[in-house]
Amino acid sequence: MSAPAIDADHHADYLTEHTVKSWLLTGDHKRIGIMFMISVTIFFFVGGAAATLMRLELMTPKGDVLASADAYNRLFTMHGVIMIFFFLIPAIPAVLGNFFLPIMIGARDMAFPKLNLMSWYVYMIGGILGIWILIFGGVDTGWTFYTPFSTMYSNTMVVTAALAVFITGFSSILTGMNMIVTVHTMRAPGMTWFRLPLFVWSHYATSVIQVLGTPVLAISVVLVALERIFRVGIFDPALGGDPVLFQHLFWFYSHPAVYIMVLPAFAVVSEIIPCFARRPIFGYRFIAFSSIAIAVFSFLVWGHHMFVSGQSMYAGAVFSVLSFLVAIPSGIKVFNWTATLYKGSIRFDTPMLYALGFIGLFTIGGLTGLMLASLAIDVHVHDTYFIVAHFHYIMVGGAVMAYMGGIHFWWPKMTGRMYPEFWGKLSALLVFVGFNVTFLPQFLLGWLGMPRRYFEYRPEFQVLNVMSTAGASILAVGYLLPLIYLLLSLRHPRTAGPNPWGATGLEWQIESPPTSHNFHGPVLVTCEPYMYSPEEAEREYAHEQLVHNA
């Protein structure tokens, strides 16, 4: 790959202009990525605070920390709504995707910079509405808004929550649209589809899901709001409605939504593994096509959330088979990442720790997903902590770890500064250990029969619950540390250099931090991605010890 030589005298970068107006009215995809990063981080910690309170409550079998069962209902609802809609869905695509997708394809910006900015504002409006709900009483329906409770019986701010989700959905749609059009129309000369980094392929697949799925979520929450306001019985059996219809509409989006959360994680891992194993990725085309396959198949399996809801058994059986099939593309990726490590020259830098952790934890989450895809098992563990553990393994052990890995990997590029490697490694290990201590016991709890969304439980479950809470405290430290050391790293001068990792990819050929328009001249791509070799690695890293000791 070639990009024009970096102009050593050119000191202005995308962060140079300091005015508030230049940030709030920016069209620069990099600034928008940073703005999203700040926003999602805030929401992550708010959602985390809710989780902390929940885990504190669950240390004892009786309800004693919180005022009432009702308060607990609101807490887990807000934890779910915030973590899913305000953190996981936007995190990697809107932060790392926005920042790096245009650079990786050799473009100066996204196709629609103004729509990109709008996606942030729309997200913030939805987010502020979410905070409003949090302050003024919350919602107690669970993030899934199941009818008829949400439409007929709940006394909380359901309509406002529906509105918040509806609005935030547009942010997701705008990001998706922008990315698809950008990848189709703005690739640099020579950047053919099969020279694209897999980061781009995965984000493309994510965007397809965002565009096709999110509107159906929009209509489902609108119908809930409508029924609450006008009492029209769309989901009310007494008036001819069917509550399960809501579940069909809701999960038609919400299952693909989990792939919106995990495909970008795959994207990050696909970039980190080759770099820190110094090997080209194994099976590039398999990973690329499996991303598209996931985007398509993810729309065919939503009924596996509804095995015990009154769905017909035949539909259940079909969804079960399809859910087994959808695991195959993910499995292909895991095999390929692992094969990439073979005969590699592996370095356990912080991003690699997160990426390796991802592979292990995602595999556990995915395998337990297969267990849940079996109708017979799901009937027993549905609505227990088994489910909670399963999706946390994927979303936290998977997506959040990938997000952290990506933030660390690209931190020098985004800010021009390196984070302290010792603290980075320590936090990664704390997160890994804390995560497993938190959620592994939950598999056991669910298997033994502890239901989810309960704030009181049978005394025999206490030991495992205490373990889980203990793990959560370690996890919390693991998340707080990066917040501190990453922010502190900003006090240092911008000495990271354009390519501290010796990575391939267009983003590593430009300055750290990049200039406003990314490249200084026309970009021409002439070679394949991931042109790593282990032999070179040994020589290279000898030079770069200085950078890692920062």
Partner: protein, 252 residues
Amino acid sequence: MSSLSTTLEETALGRDVAPRRTETLLSPHFDNVEQQSNASILGMWFFLSTEIMFFSGLIAAYTIYRALSPEAFRLGSQHMHVWLGFFNTLVLLTSSLTMALGVRESQLGRRDGVVWYLVATAVMGAAFLGVKAVEYSMEIEHHLFPGVNFQVPAEDAEALAEISATPEELQTNLGRFQMMFVLYFFITGVHAFHMIIGIVAVLIMAALMKRNWFSGNGTTQIEVLGLYWHFVDVVWVFLYPLLYLIDLSGGH
């Protein structure tokens, strides 16, 4: 030299006296005008995809309830104003024609033609909405607006009682009769909302075209607007038979 700077100052003050450009402005992040144009049109197509999915949730609800209670829906459909709907469909199809012709005018660089066709499109859109408002008011008057004031007309209640085997089934059928109107009002309401946005957009574009605001011919912008308008028309092409024309044959 001084007269040149005076002229520049004058033009800097008033938008309306901007110099005529014939070259389409290129945004800095695009390489050429063709790329910019393609991106805009592709973007609109993806937006329309999201709109199709949005409506599909409602169509799914409609399809399921109609499949479960075909008679209730058929009886409900009898209360639709078939010929007003017919007129509306005609008007909307014609507005699509004028929109397409307007896009054609922009491709030929004929600004006045564009303005004329856009205004015609907006007028027809407004006529559609006017008729819709009349329909709604008639339906509300006949207690067919769902909610506390909804009343199943006597003859329909009787017809449903005849085909219902049990009291529960009758209750469900009566509920589904109202459901038809819930879906009718909501789907056509969402459609009308999109029409309103469309009409406003068309009028704004017509005004901008009239004031020579676009660099170049504004072809891409008008084309993108046209795509949106045609989409709203296509939705109605399906809604009309689904809601109004379930079965007009009388005997069943």
